[in-house]
Symmetry: C2
Subunit: 150 residues, 2 copies
C-alpha cells in the first residue's frame, strides 16, 4: 500500500463525510482495506496540511484549507470561464485571448488550478501566455482548461 494512495483516500474521505478524529479516519480506511495506525494518520495530516475546524453542524471536522475556506476554486473557475475568448497553442506554449483587461484574472485562475505540467503563466492585458514543460503535455493541459469552461 503506497503512502500516496492512502493520502489520496484520506482526501476523498474527508471531502465526502464529516470525520471528527484521526481514529475515525483510521476506521474508515480500514473499511477500504487500508490498515494503518493513528500515528501514521497524524503524519499524513501534517503533510497534507489538513486542519480540524468547527463545521457548520457544530462538530469538529477535518478539512483541507481550501475546503475550510470553501467556494474559492469554484469562484475562480467561474472567473476563468467568464473571461476566455479563445485558446491557441504553438510549441510548448498556450496562448489565451481574454476579454479586455481580464488576462491577469485568468492567469490567477490558471495558477490556482494547480496543473503540474505548467511551468508558468504571463499575463498582459487581454492575453495570457502559458508555458508548458513539454510539447507532449500541451494537450493534457488544454483538456484541463476545457474542464473549467463549462
Amino acid at each position: 500500500m503506497k503512502k500516496y494512495t492512502r493520502q489520496t483516500k484520506i482526501l476523498e474521505l474527508i471531502s465526502k463525510s464529516e470525520i471528527e478524529t484521526q481514529e475515525e479516519l483510521a476506521e474508515a480506511l480500514k473499511n477500504m482495506g487500508i490498515d494503518v495506525t493513528q500515528a501514521t494518520i497524524s503524519r499524513d495530516i501534517k503533510e497534507l496540511r489538513l486542519v480540524k475546524v468547527m463545521s457548520k453542524s457544530g462538530k469538529y471536522k477535518y478539512a483541507t484549507i481550501s475546503q475550510s475556506q470553501e467556494g474559492i476554486t469554484d469562484r475562480l473557475n467561474k472567473i476563468f470561464e467568464n473571461s476566455v475568448v479563445s485558446i491557441d497553442n504553438a510549441m510548448n506554449m498556450i496562448i489565451i485571448k481574454t476579454i479586455p483587461g481580464a488576462a491577469q484574472i485568468c492567469a490567477s485562475a490558471i495558477d490556482f488550478m494547480g496543473i503540474e505540467e505548467i511551468v508558468g503563466t504571463l499575463a498582459g492585458d487581454d492575453n495570457v501566455f502559458v508555458a508548458v514543460r513539454k510539447i507532449e503535455q500541451v494537450d493534457k493541459v488544454l483538456q484541463e482548461f476545457k474542464k473549467n469552461i463549462r
Copy 2:
C-alpha cells in the same frame, strides 16, 4: 476582562507571532495581563474557528482559515483593482462599472472582502450592484473599496 477583548488579543497574537500550542497562547496572554487557563483558550479557538496547521518553517502554528489559505485575498484584490472603471452610489446602493465581462469577477472579489455592511451583490456583464444595509454605511463601504484600489 471581557471575552471579546481576549479573543481580539488572540487574533492579534497569532497574526504577529508563530504560536504552536494553546499553553503558549496562555503565556503570551498572561504577559499582556490576561490570565486564563488552556481550557478557555480551547473554547476561544473553537469559536474563532482557528486552525492549527503546518507553517512554512516546518512548525505547527495557529492561524485563521484565511491566513492558512494566504495569497487569495491579495489575488482577488488585484482582480478587483484591474477591472473597476468607476464607482457611483444612490440611496443604499453602490454601482460599480467594470471593464466588459468583469462584473462577476468584481462581485466575487467584493464578497471575499467580507464587508459586514454589505447585504449582497448582484453582477451583470459590466455592472455590479452592491446593496448596503443602511444609507449611513455607504461611505464606510466606499472607503473599504478604495483601500483595495491601490
